[in-house]
């Protein structure tokens, strides 16, 4: 990495200016430049300290480094810079660096979230960001005041920086250190900083000497900041200084970093940059600065932006600044290089970064607090430093012109959302509005161009580098980092009222306040800022989709959707498009009519619904009516919404139990029967006070079916055998479906006797089709909807409709015929599913196979009816009972609706075109769900059929008509409004990667039905590459093609995508059965975002030290992260592993297992022993809470290091190479970069 970076650095440097900047800048490029500029300001201040050295040394080395990195990906800015010096390493390094940079940028982005940090980071992170970063910074400066404050509120750190903005200098100052510099850099500050920066850069070079700083290599990156540090220190005497001091003590560089963090980061760093990112950010920032600075671009940019004050000087400064960055990076590298060669150091840095990061975090948090102070500090610095004044000046003037562009860029980078749900948006609009923005953007790009310059060099370098060097995993975007950042910045309830606001990540726990849009628990979108036109959408290739979980369970502190009753006439709807009354409807003519915001049709308000409007045009009762003020609510449906115009009957549950030899022998039959006895008291009900109205029925079967008459009046149940399986029917009506309480005795007697009756069975053949038919017919006969619980063991080979043969053929895997294995074997089940849906018959299938059962075919009905498939391969009562029973309990008790129809209406311009999930569609618009439970999500894809407007945004309304478990017919409405944009950058700033991955996985898993898996994988990679390439091409500063630049909000796209590609469905290992794949495939199809997230990127927690109240911070899914002396808990949503290192301390083992010896741990245990010590208690608590979070019970598997089971465990270390040939994260990132570059060229 270092090397790469260095190389790139070098080249850029070489080209542009001395090299300093270039290398460093290169990475820093886009945003950085800007930031640098600001940084420069600070840097300048710093410069004094470091500059000289940095310049000379860093510049060149850094350039070299940078060049390499840039070529690779980039911006490997950070890495590059850090490692840059080591140049030798360049190639490999570069790649990683690039990643890092990207990551950095992302990190920045994340950081960005906190406005301040984001801005800086983003800019820093990716050059594109840089632009954005610039913007944020601008916004801060410019719009800042108001927005800034908001921002600050949200992202204290950022704001802080923003705060500084006013004192341009200040702003710069902070930025300098951190990304902010970028923004600042754009501003006047940057220039100064640059000038100054150069010094820092030089200092960086000097840094080498300072290697001490190396420790904080990242910081070094920030290193550039380091220079700032000095300035900060000086400038920021107060907090920053303190920080610096504190940090400083150790290694100066570190100090610098911290300062940078504190100063610049505080705002950004705290929130955004958190750990890794921070380090990266700093680097990136510096780099950008450098790059930008060095390259002419920076100059041009400056001209626009900087022009005001220091431009002239800045130009020169830029170089310096760049040099500074460069210097900074150098510093980083230097340390390493100095000591053991730059590479090592970088690594150290990297490693350190994390450490440092944490500290930064820690420091970060304080910073936020300090933010204000920091800002103050910054301010002071700013002022102190020449830039300061310039900055301010520039801000006002230049911002408008040149800055805007930068800002734009910055925003893009920062993710407008993060920046400021609060701030950013307002800002953006401003920006957007300011035509200037685009124009400026261009300039910004130009600046970037300079970066690009380095790239040329990079290109040459990269390949080599890649091939030669291993990229440091710490340098590439870390999911953990992103998750933690998001957690850290989410401390206020998420208010849904603001259009186009991206919610916190699914991994973050937060409170939601419904103010007009559906809670993210119900609806999550891939993009909260949709492109206005189809062309844009096509160009970006970003999927426009929403993941809707209509009946999602809300946490206890959030209100479930209110029930609205519009009386006999039913819900009030638009006359034309039939959209339901919602907050988007515009009341006109004094409230007598309303205009539909979906189709613009004007509809009369029924007299009973009339209400006057207030002076703003809102109905007076607006806040009294959920349908006028909330995003989610329910309507009571009238008889018109019922099948056959008849109010529905309460639903029924039918239990169909396989009693063939295998089922009896495995113990399944007795377990089910025993459990049902108590479970029947927990049938779903809406009012806990009242008995459930759900009726139950029982069927057992092998080759024939046995129905049971459990009428209350009978002394003994009666068994009715139906052996005519070719033409299934229900032999009885009265007495089959009964109320549990009335027939309790008979039912219990039945459940007692079933296991006995079949204890000696010799029947091994089973049927399956007729079983479902039987349930279906029973529901038909009873004229109600309901759910079938089928407990099944084996491939249905008995002569009957739906008979299957064993078709598992491993030879087909990897061939064009592989897809046929995912297709149902016979068409019978498709037709059956259709019938089931028509009746509202939902099928849940519990499989207990000992061999191939053809899940692909058996699952057709469950999948089409909104049911679930549970699979317990090689079921053994002893070990699997708990998992099965918990699943069963949950499945039986969970909130569920029946006979549902979902329709998604959208405003003119887009249309829901495709749906993924467990359901059936008989036409192109209505999603029919025989059953819909609280865990089922449906992914809806939207396509343009016209233009959208930025003013109105895009609206969607998801209406689900269903029958509740008490037999009430209802409509649940979820409304969602998102913004529309005409700038791609806006799109890229408002995406949610987790949701995109959810969409991709579902899209791909459906694709395997019709395409070879290889083609599916390629398609995914392609689309992903296009998305990123489009970003690179249109939003990022045009840096070297060798740089990998990722949008902040998509920086995890590669790692997650890789996980999807490596999943068993798309890339099966030798030991993965076809059934497993089919099972996963259908399982994923109805997962929501949280589920897919943890499924594809499992949560891996080190649990050596546990605190009550908080969870340990997760580590990345790589074997490298596991320490021999550690114990780790991994959850995937389906599995739960407890990995125990071989050299765990005895005490830990004692606390955990009650045994002092590693070898005595029984790896077959399914539950941790209950030990009376805080550690054991806490760990079990954690495990329980994990289980409670997931819709399926996760069986605990204890994995001892080096044990056989570790193979399975390793399968889930998704950042590593997989046994089935899946690429490691690093490799994949390289691959992705290559793809992008191909697209770009």
């Amino acid at each position: 990495m270092n090397v790469n970076q260095h190389t790139p650095m070098a080249s850029p440097y070489g080209q542009p200016q001395p090299g300093y900047g270039q290398p460093n800048y290169a990475p820093l490029d886009g945003g950085y430049p800007a930031s640098y500029a600001p940084y420069n300001g600070p840097a300048s201040a710093y410069q004094p300290g470091v500059p000289p050295q940095g310049y000379s040394f860093t510049s060149f080395p850094s350039k070299a480094v940078a060049a390499n990195p840039a070529s690779d990906l980039s911006s490997s800015l950070d890495l590059g810079s850090a490692r840059g010096p080591p140049t030798s390493a360049p190639p490999p390094v570069s790649a990683p660096q690039q990643y890092n940079q990207y990551s950095h940028s992302p990190a920045d982005m994340q950081n960005g979230p906190p406005p301040m940090t984001q801005a800086p980071p983003r800019p820093a992170g990716s050059q594109p960001y840089g632009l954005g970063g610039g913007q944020p910074s601008y916004p801060q400066h410019y719009a800042p005041p108001p927005t800034m404050q908001q921002v600050t509120n949200q992202m204290g750190g950022m704001q802080l920086t923003s705060g500084p903005p006013t004192p341009a200098g200040l702003g710069y100052a902070p930025p300098h250190s951190s990304q902010p510099p970028i923004s600042t850099s754009y501003q006047s500050a940057p220039q100064p900083s640059f000038t100054q920066a150069p010094p820092p850069a030089s200092s960086a070079p000097t840094q080498p000497p300072p290697p001490n700083a190396p420790a904080a290599s990242q910081q070094y990156y920030r290193g550039p900041p380091p220079p700032p540090q000095p300035p900060f220190n000086s400038a920021l005497p107060p907090t920053s200084q303190q920080q610096f001091l504190s940090s400083a003590p150790p290694p100066p560089s570190q100090q610098t970093f911290p300062p940078s963090f504190s100063s610049s980061i505080p705002p950004p760093s705290c929130a955004p940059a958190p750990p890794v990112s921070q380090s990266q950010q700093p680097f990136s920032t510096p780099q950008p600065h450098f790059s930008s600075a060095p390259p002419p671009v920076s100059q041009p940019g400056f001209p626009s932006g900087p022009p005001p004050p220091a431009q002239g000087s800045f130009p020169p400064q830029p170089t310096p600044s760049s040099s500074q960055p460069g210097s900074v990076p150098p510093p980083g590298p230097p340390p390493t290089s100095v000591t053991s060669g730059q590479y090592p150091t970088p690594i150290q840095h990297q490693q350190q970064p994390p450490d440092s990061q944490p500290s930064p975090y820690h420091s970060g948090p304080p910073p936020p607090r300090f933010q204000m102070p920091p800002t103050v500090n910054h301010l002071p610095p700013g002022p102190q430093s020449p830039p300061g004044p310039q900055g301010p000046l520039q801000q006002p003037p230049s911002p408008q012109t040149g800055y805007p562009p930068q800002q734009n860029g910055a925003f893009g980078q920062t993710r407008s959302p993060q920046a400021g749900y609060p701030g950013p948006y307002p800002v953006q609009p401003n920006y957007g509005a300011p035509a200037p923005a685009p124009a400026p953007a261009a300039p910004a790009q130009k600046r970037l161009d300079p970066d690009a310059i380095p790239s040329p060099q990079a290109p040459d370098m990269p390949a080599v580098q890649k091939s030669r060097h291993r990229i440091d995993p710490d340098a590439i975007p870390s999911p953990i980092q992103v998750i933690e950042d998001d957690k850290a910045k989410t401390n206020e309830p998420f208010v849904t009222g603001v259009r186009g606001q991206a919610p916190p990540l699914v991994t973050t726990s937060f409170h939601v306040r419904d103010q007009g849009n559906a809670s993210p628990r119900f609806v999550r979108c891939t993009a909260y800022n949709m492109p206005c036109t189809a062309d844009m959408a096509k160009q970006s290739q970003v999927p426009l989709a929403a993941v809707i979980k209509p009946l999602a369970t809300l946490p206890p502190d959030e209100n479930p959707p209110y029930m609205v009753d519009h009386g006999e006439g039913g819900p009030i709807r638009c006359n034309r498009c039939k959209a339901y009354m919602c907050p988007y409807m515009q009341f006109i003519e004094g409230g007598r009519r309303f205009q539909c915001s979906f189709c613009n049709c004007v509809t009369d308000v029924p007299p009973h619904y009339f209400q006057h409007l207030d002076h703003t045009g809102k109905r007076v009762d607006c806040y009294d009516r959920p349908e006028l003020s909330l995003g989610s609510y329910e309507f009571l449906a009238t008889v018109d919404y019922c099948k056959n115009n008849k109010l529905p009957q309460p639903p029924a549950f039918i239990f169909l139990i396989d009693v063939s030899y295998n089922a009896v022998k495995s113990g399944m039959v007795s377990i089910v029967c025993h459990e049902l006895k108590s479970l029947l008291d927990h049938l779903p009900r809406e009012n806990p006070e009242v008995d459930s109205v759900v009726r139950v029925g029982f069927v057992t079967y092998n080759k024939v079916l046995h129905f049971y008459n459990v009428k209350a009046s009978l002394a003994q149940p009666q068994m009715l055998v139906v052996s005519d399986v070719s033409d299934m029917f229900v032999p009885l009506l009265d007495g089959f479906l009964v109320n549990v309480n009335e027939s309790r005795q008979v039912i219990e007697s039945l459940l007692d006797q079933i296991p006995e009756m079949f204890a000696d069975t010799r029947e091994t053949e089973t049927v399956f089709g007729p079983v479902i038919q039987a349930g279906l017919e029973a529901l038909k006969a009873a004229d109600c909807a309901g759910k079938l619980f089928v407990f099944h063991t084996s491939l249905p080979i008995a002569e009957a409709p739906g008979k299957l043969k064993n078709r598992e053929d491993k030879k087909l895997i990897g061939t064009d015929k592989e897809k046929s294995l995912f297709q149902p074997q016979v068409g019978f089940y498709n037709n059956l599913a259709k019938e089931c849906v028509a009746q509202g018959c939902c099928v849940d299938l519990f499989l207990f196979p000992n061999q191939y059962v053809d899940v692909a075919t058996l699952g057709v009905v469950p999948v089409s009816t909104g049911g679930s498939v549970y699979k317990y391969t090689y079921f053994q009562a002893q070990t699997d009972q708990e998992r099965f029973l918990n699943d069963l309990r949950r499945d039986l008790q969970k909130h569920v609706g029946f006979d549902a129809v979902m329709r998604v209406r959208t405003s003119t311009g887009i249309r829901a075109t495709d749906f993924f999930g467990s359901f059936y569609m008989s036409n192109t618009t209505d999603v029919e769900l025989a059953g819909l439970d609280c865990d089922k999500a449906i992914t809806v894809e939207f396509k343009h059929d016209d233009k959208l407007s930025e003013e109105t945004g895009a609206l969607m309304q998801c209406a689900v008509l269903y029958t509740s478990c008490s037999g009430q017919r209802r409509l649940r409405i979820h409304n969602m409004a998102v913004n529309c944009c005409s700038q791609l950058a806006d799109l890229y700033r408002n995406c949610e990667t987790d949701t995109i991955i959810n969409y991709f996985s579902k899209y791909a898993f459906r694709g395997v039905l019709s395409n070879p898996t290889k083609a599916v994988r390629d398609t995914l990679v392609n689309q992903c590459a296009q998305i990123l390439a489009c970003y690179r091409k249109n939003c990022a500063s045009p840096s070297s093609a060798g740089q990998l630049i990722l949008p902040e909000c998509m920086k995890l796209l590669p790692v997650y995508l890789n996980c999807v590609l490596k999943s068993d469905v798309l890339l099966p290992g030798a030991d993965v059965s076809l059934d497993d794949r089919a099972y996963l495939k259908q399982l994923i199809s109805c997962m929501d975002v949280a589920d897919t997230h943890v499924f594809f990127y499992p949560r891996l927690l080190p649990v050596m030290k546990l605190e009550s109240g908080s969870l340990p911070v997760a580590v990345r899914n790589s074997e490298e992260r596991l320490s021999k002396g550690g114990v780790y808990l991994m959850e995937t949503g389906l599995h739960l592993f407890l990995w125990v290192g071989a050299s765990v301390q005895q005490e830990l083992l004692l606390n955990l297992f009650g045994t002092p010896s590693f070898s005595q741990i029984d790896s077959s245990m399914i539950n941790l022993p209950v030990l009376d010590n805080p550690f054991s208690q806490r760990l079990r608590e954690i495990i329980d809470s994990f289980r409670a979070q997931r819709s399926r019970y996760m069986k605990l598997v204890v994995v001892k290091q080096e044990d056989r089971t570790e193979l399975i465990f390793r399968h889930f270390l998704v950042e590593d190479k997989s046994a089935s040939g899946g690429a490691s994260y690093v490799d994949f990132l390289c691959h992705m970069h290559k793809e992008i570059r191909q697209l770009l060229s």
Binding site: V704, A715, Q718, L720, V721, P731, Q753
Partner: protein, 738 residues
């Protein structure tokens, strides 16, 4: 004449046989001229208390085509230990066991008064009796309750070793598994899908027994019981409980609909079940239905109440869309059942028709009972059903199973066919005529169900050519060999050998005429007429009948429900015809010409003419039509009764008068099977129609004045009276003679 009637009575008493002619014309030509064919009414199991079964097997003629049984008519050479078959003249060696035979030591079968003799076959296993209840559950609770009680009662009447099974049906068909602990099990089949025996066997899981067959000699024992058919002694309690828990068909019946009743499939399953488990073993499927089949194969009417069940009118108009298919279905079932020797009884209790017309062949082919009543909750049904299980003095049921009747004839005469509850076994033989009457073309018939009164009509043809005179004194012989399964499980063979003299019609016409058995001939012709009526168009039959020799009975026959469908539903016609075709001569006569007794203060009860003139105000009439027993109180008597004179001590004689016909009726009721409908009515009562429709309308609204008013009651009918009929007949006779 007297001698002939005595001879006839004696023959009937001894052999259960009555011939239309007791002296046979010696040539085909002459026989044809006699109009009434040589025919006989045979009651194979006529009760003979004086006939101990012989514990060995019959000796058969060794000629393969003959196989006649050694009988008193055979010539025996005691020294050579040879006997000559009197049918084929084959000389046969006596079997070794007859070594001690001599003129003074004759085996029973050679004694002249043992012209009817019964052998017990010792070979083979003792087969259990099988009773399979086929119960409709689509009926009112009251009915169902009554039925359940009757069924439970019947269990106590069954021998402990008898196997019983239970199939219930409504919308679905349930085959109940018996003898299971705890949860009661049943196999359910949908009522709309017919299954063949093999499918059924698989679905009931009965295929294993076939797999076990390979194992060895015990195989035959295997199917002796299975899950569905178990010995009464074993599952008595279980079945009783099962029956008591029997619910009404739980499927909802919406207004304006009939319940869905899968009779066709149910019966098919019953037949199939026995077919695959107890083929060729005596078994009785007792079907209890409360209404018509309304779905699936065999349905006779749709489930829409607005569409009434077919009437004769519909049938004539070819408007009964389900009839043909249903008939075909049940015919097929009847054939299957009869092939396997199983009986199908139908007990139909409903106010409306139940589709007996379509189902008639089931009992008709298999010798089963057909009982029609209004409700299961009537004594008519209860008593009748109880009477099915009547036992004889030995404690055996008066029923026999899976019988085959074989007829062997002398060379001069051949058998044309049989009419009665039997099916052809399609056995060709030397004594089979090419000319078919009734079920012909065979010399063997299967009679799955027999009781002591079951009577078949057998028709013969004299085939001797005119130019081949029979030597003087020659006798024509006919041997009836009935093999059957006795209710004790034994296999028995009853052999009746009869012989009649030949006479030359030209020279001995008087003798022949004197030998004419008017009653037998009437019944034989009536059976033929009914048979034709069943198989041909109604009016044609009447015309055919009119062309035949007509006597007194013919007048009533013409008016009887056996030929007239007017005023009878198709089901009733089928019911009446069924009984007519199986009852013995006496009963058949009553059916054709009901018996009318008059009770009055004027004297002891006396039979009176079945004429409207017999209806007098001061009389009580008791009419027995076989199916109904009507007590009709004349106008005056009715007024007295209404006034309550019978309760006054001084009018005790009136009380006795009232009681007399009731007592007589009770006596009839107790012996008759099926139990007749008992009707107590009076002048002007609505039920009086039963009487009025039977009597000869000598007085009608058209001619009552002409006949004066001294007596009788006018009948409102357009039917001609006997007088008119006779006048017309005379005219015809004269003109035809001319």
């Amino acid at each position: 004449m007297a001698t002939f009637s005595e001879y006839i009575a004696q023959n009937e008493e001894r052999d259960g046989v009555r011939f239309s002619w007791n002296v046979w014309p010696s040539s085909r030509l002459e026989a044809t001229r006699m109009v009434v064919p040589v025919a006989s009414l045979l009651t194979p199991l006529k009760e003979r208390t004086d006939l101990p079964p012989i514990q060995y097997e019959p000796v058969l003629c060794s000629r393969a085509t003959c196989r006649a049984v050694l009988n008193p008519l055979c010539q025996v050479d005691y020294r050579a230990k040879l006997w000559a078959c009197n049918f084929c003249y084959q000389r046969n060696q006596f079997p070794p066991s007859y070594a001690g035979i001599s003129e003074v030591n004759q085996p029973a079968e050679l004694l002249p008064h043992f012209s009817t003799i019964e052998y017990v076959v010792q070979r083979g296993p003792q087969m259990p009796l099988v009773f399979l209840y086929l119960v409709d559950t689509c009926m009112e609770d009251e009915d169902l309750q009554a039925l359940k009680e009757s069924l439970q009662m019947s269990l106590s009447l069954l021998p402990p070793t008898a196997l019983v099974g239970l199939i219930t049906f409504g919308r679905m068909v349930q085959v109940h598994e018996l003898g299971c602990e705890g949860i009661s099990k049943s196999y359910v089949f949908r009522g709309t899908k017919d299954l063949n025996a093999k499918q059924l066997q698989e679905m009931l899981g009965l295929t294993k027994s076939s797999g076990a067959q390979g194992r060895g000699p015990q195989t035959p024992q295997q199917p002796l019981s299975n899950r569905f058919l178990q010995p009464v002694q074993k599952i008595d309690m279980n079945l009783t409980d099962l029956l008591s828990e029997l619910q009404r068909d739980p499927w909802p019946v919406t207004q304006g609909k009939r319940p869905l009743r899968s009779l066709g499939v149910a019966m098919s399953i019953a037949v199939g079940l026995l077919e695959c488990t107890f083929s060729n073993t005596g078994a009785r499927i007792m079907t209890f239905i409360g209404g018509p089949a309304t779905q699936g194969p065999g349905m006779v009417v749709g489930d829409e109440l607005k569409t009434p069940i077919r009437s004769w009118h519909d049938i004539e108009k070819d408007n009964a869309k389900f009839m043909k298919k249903a008939t075909k279905h049940f015919e097929a079932l009847a054939n299957r059942a009869s092939t396997n020797g199983h009986i199908i009884d139908i007990y139909a209790c409903a106010l409306d028709q139940t589709g007996l017309l379509e189902m008639k062949c089931c009992p008709n082919y298999t010798g089963g009972y057909m009982v029609m009543a209004d409700s299961f909750n009537t004594s008519l049904f209860k008593q009748t059903f109880q009477r099915v299980f009547t036992k004889d003095v030995q404690g055996s049921f008066k029923m026999a199973f899976a019988a085959t009747l074989e007829v062997k004839t002398s060379r001069e005469i051949k058998v044309c066919g049989a009419i009665g509850p039997c099916v052809s076994l399609s056995t060709k033989g030397p004594c089979v005529s090419e000319n078919e009457i009734g079920t012909g073309g065979t010399c063997q018939w299967k009679i799955c169900g027999l009781d002591p009164s079951t009577t078949l009509a057998l028709y013969f043809e004299v085939v001797n050519q005119h130019n081949a005179p029979i030597p003087q004194g020659g006798r024509g012989a006919i041997q009836f060999v009935t093999q059957y399964q006795h209710s004790s499980g034994q296999r028995r063979i009853r052999v009746t050998t009869t012989a009649r003299n030949w006479a030359d019609a030209q020279t001995q016409i008087q003798t022949i005429a004197a030998s004419f058995d008017q009653e037998a001939a009437a019944i034989l012709m009536a059976r033929l007429a009914v048979y034709r009526a069943e198989t041909e168009e109604g009016p044609d039959v009447l015309r055919w009948l009119d062309r035949q020799l007509i006597r007194l009975f013919m007048f009533h026959l013409r008016r009887s429900p056996f030929l007239q469908v007017f005023n009878n539903s198709p089901d009733e016609s089928s019911y009446y015809r069924h009984h007519f075709n199986r009852q013995d001569l006496t009963q058949a006569l009553i059916m054709i010409q009901p018996v009318l007794y008059a009770y009055s203060f004027n004297g002891p009860p006396e039979p009176v003419l079945l004429d409207s003139s017999s209806i007098l105000p001061d009389r009580i009439l008791l009419m027995d039509t076989f199916f109904q027993i009507v007590i009709y109180h004349g106008e005056t008597v009715a007024q007295w009764r209404k006034a309550g004179y019978q309760d006054m001590p001084e009018y005790e004689n009136f009380k006795h008068l009232l009681q007399a016909p009731v007592d007589d009726a009770q006596e009839l009721l107790h012996t008759r099977f099926p139990m007749p409908r008992y009707i107590d009515t009076e002048h002007g009562g609505s039920q009086a129609r039963f009487l009025l429709s039977k009597v000869n309308p000598s007085q009608t609204h058209n001619n009552m004045y002409a006949w004066g008013q001294e007596s009788g009651a006018p009948i409102l009918t357009d039917d001609v009276s006997l007088q008119v009929f006779m006048d017309h007949l005379k005219k015809l006779a004269v003109s035809s003679a001319a």
